[in-house]
Assembly symmetry: none
Homo-oligomer: 408 residues x 2
């Protein structure tokens, strides 16, 4: 039985970039180490979810881990909470929130409260976190910028409620139940809104903001309620131990929700553009001593893609290639190694796209095909053809000699 | 956001043709304009429905428009009616019919009434179209050759009834209900059979036929009952305006059933072998000024395929290539353009086959792969790999920057 290293190069796939003579960063830069894995392994292209579906990092990682995303994904609230690294339990209801600035009449004066962010959001959250209403515990955590997640924990909850967030409109809406079972939930959310405003309006942080001429963040505006889904633990489904090597909160949250351990990383592996890829590779190889399956996420190409900077993304590709050289030199013999992406983040879009991503799978003694280059166009000649994210783990499990025969 | 032009070259795909040294028409003829789109875009092959499934033009177009055909398609009756350009409403029951020649004892003497066709079938249909039985309206329309469609409209109808058509047997069958709910429907169909025979047997058209020694068409023989399905409108699903540019009744009917507008065409765009492709291309480009999505169907290659005439089909290919040259010169910058087929119509078969069809997708800034030629074998090297008809619209919507992110 072999071990499995699944390397997700976040957002690496691209479309033709004007700055790179119409090529993608992977087509533009020569990558001898990535190409070695393609040349000695099997290549293909992969729809993380399905053709044309534009994935988030959350849904893409769930799919790549083999889950049927559509049966798991119930609104963005729970995944905002996972992304904020909250400890959530099955049965919890989660909502996404904005910190906003409202008048006494609940008229929205600034729906992002001047794009407030940590540490101020952290201070405001502290004022809300001992709240219990009619037996329901309210747990708040700040997230990126002016965002936060709100978790409701208790008996008799139901996620079928309307948003408080008025989106285009001016005045906050009353939370309404969409069915009888959700009446209690809507009621406690409305009580929370009153209590939240009372606690935040004169909070020292807000007083300081007003003194500085900034809009106060005097309320949390929730939307996107979802119940936290039960996710069958990955190690249980596949009968293997598993950990993730990532510096990104959302990815760590997703993995934890799937029962995958989070491997501790040194601070230099920060999930940013300046992350230490060689150190991260060493951590992944180290983790493989203790775990059967390691998911390694490299976030930097996605950041360069969101910046729309094709030259920067090409530099990141060079560093990823060096990382793959380091892995090639130091990897154990009994390893199945996958290079792929969770989605494309084309520089021309500055956002994710629904294009398929390149994939290469290598293990000693695997089938070699005629693909030679780790790129969008280079991998499409390979033996794997066009697969889906959900196919990756079963293919790896089989190459790792860990599958049971289906039939006789 | 970009607009989308989906060009369906009807039945263009083929197998090796003896008359073309074992090549397909696309392999045999040099097509510089079609090839330009392949060279500058992404290519692949596409199973309109699924591998080995031999599609009709109706089911293939539904699939290419993104519908799950199997959940929509409920017997051929409704699609015969759509093909005959009947105005149908949800809840209607539709049946396919033959005009036939029967004796007074309902013995079938000629099940196609000497392959009667329009204008005689039109005259006969006129004699049937004010029929109402027990509150059910019977609407008949002639279709291709000796065929017609019959629509039942009224309360209490149910499509679960047996065929009147005896197929191999000699005597017309009584329509039987397959469940209690369909008893009324079977009863009115049987009453219709009697009335139909009474109205047609001495019809002037039939008297003329008999005088000329031809079998009269003295009855309509229904089979294939289906309820008209509810099809979620295409513009509603995708949030775009859409029209079709086609000279073919069936395609226009399918599009109308999907809530897609039918663009008015000059008479020279007749859906026949001598159609004016350049004019049609101009109409499609004109339509793109008003619509986000244009489906353009070019029927001629299918006709040549059904004729089994590979040389003729090659001539059609040349004219299609000229059309693509015209489109290339005149297309707007912000366009996603797809060239594909709804199915293969191999000249050796003179009918549709279940082979996959070539597809190429081009838009400015898309990914270029190594495929160079628009043909069955040339496109299989492309980045798109092997996709399904249902994938086409999602892929185009994503390339047109019109998709929402699934997740965060």
């Amino acid at each position: 039985m072999k071990k499995i290293l699944l390397i997700v190069m976040d957002g690496l796939g691209d479309r033709g970039c004007d700055d790179l003579r119409g090529l993608t960063p992977l087509q533009f830069i020569r990558n001898p180490n990535m190409d070695w894995f393609v040349e000695h392994g099997s290549a293909g292209i992969c729809d993380p979810i399905a053709p044309g579906i534009r994935p988030g990092s959350d849904t893409a990682h769930l799919a790549i881990l083999g889950y049927d995303v559509q049966s798991i994904y119930s609104g963005r609230g729970p995944f905002e909470a996972i992304g904020a690294e909250m400890d959530i339990q099955p049965g919890d209801i989660a909502l996404r929130c904005n910190f906003a600035y409202v008048s006494d009449d609940m008229e929205v004066l600034d729906r992002r409260a001047g794009r407030i962010k940590a540490p101020e959001t952290t201070e405001l959250v502290d004022a809300l976190n001992d709240l219990e209403i009619d037996g329901v515990e309210f747990i708040v955590k700040e997230s990126t910028d002016h965002r936060a997640a709100l978790v409701l924990r208790g008996y008799g909850l139901d996620e079928r409620i309307t948003d408080v967030d008025p989106q285009g409109d001016n005045v906050l809406k009353t939370c309404e139940p969409l069915c009888e079972e959700a009446e209690f939930t809507a009621e406690v959310v409305n009580k929370f809104m009153v209590e939240c405003y009372n606690r935040l309006k004169n909070h020292p942080t807000n007083r300081k903001r007003m003194a500085a001429g900034l809009p106060p963040a005097n309320i949390l505006v929730p939307r996107g309620a979802g119940s936290f889904p039960y996710i069958e633990p990955f190690p249980y489904i596949h009968g293997i131990s598993a950990c993730c090597v990532s510096g990104v909160g959302m990815i760590k949250g997703i993995c934890k929700a799937c029962g995958i351990d989070v491997y501790p990383l040194p601070e230099s592996c920060n999930g940013g553009l300046d992350t230490d890829f060689i150190m991260k590779a060493d951590c992944a190889l180290e983790a493989l001593e203790d775990y059967d399956f390691v998911l390694m996420n490299c976030k930097a190409p996605d950041i360069a893609g969101h910046d729309g900077d094709a030259k920067l993304k090409s530099e990141v590709v060079k560093r990823l290639d060096a990382m793959m050289g380091h892995i090639r030199k130091n990897m154990p013999d009994d390893l199945v190694i996958v290079m792929t992406c969770d989605h494309c983040t084309p520089c021309s879009l500055k956002d994710h796209s629904g294009d398929p991503v390149p994939i290469a799978i290598y293990t000693k003694g695997c089938l070699r095909d005629e693909a030679k280059e780790f790129s969008e166009s280079g991998c499409c000649h390979g033996f794997l053809g066009r697969i889906r994210g959900r196919d990756i783990v079963p293919i790896c499990m089989d190459l790792a000699n860990r599958t049971e025969k289906y039939g006789s």
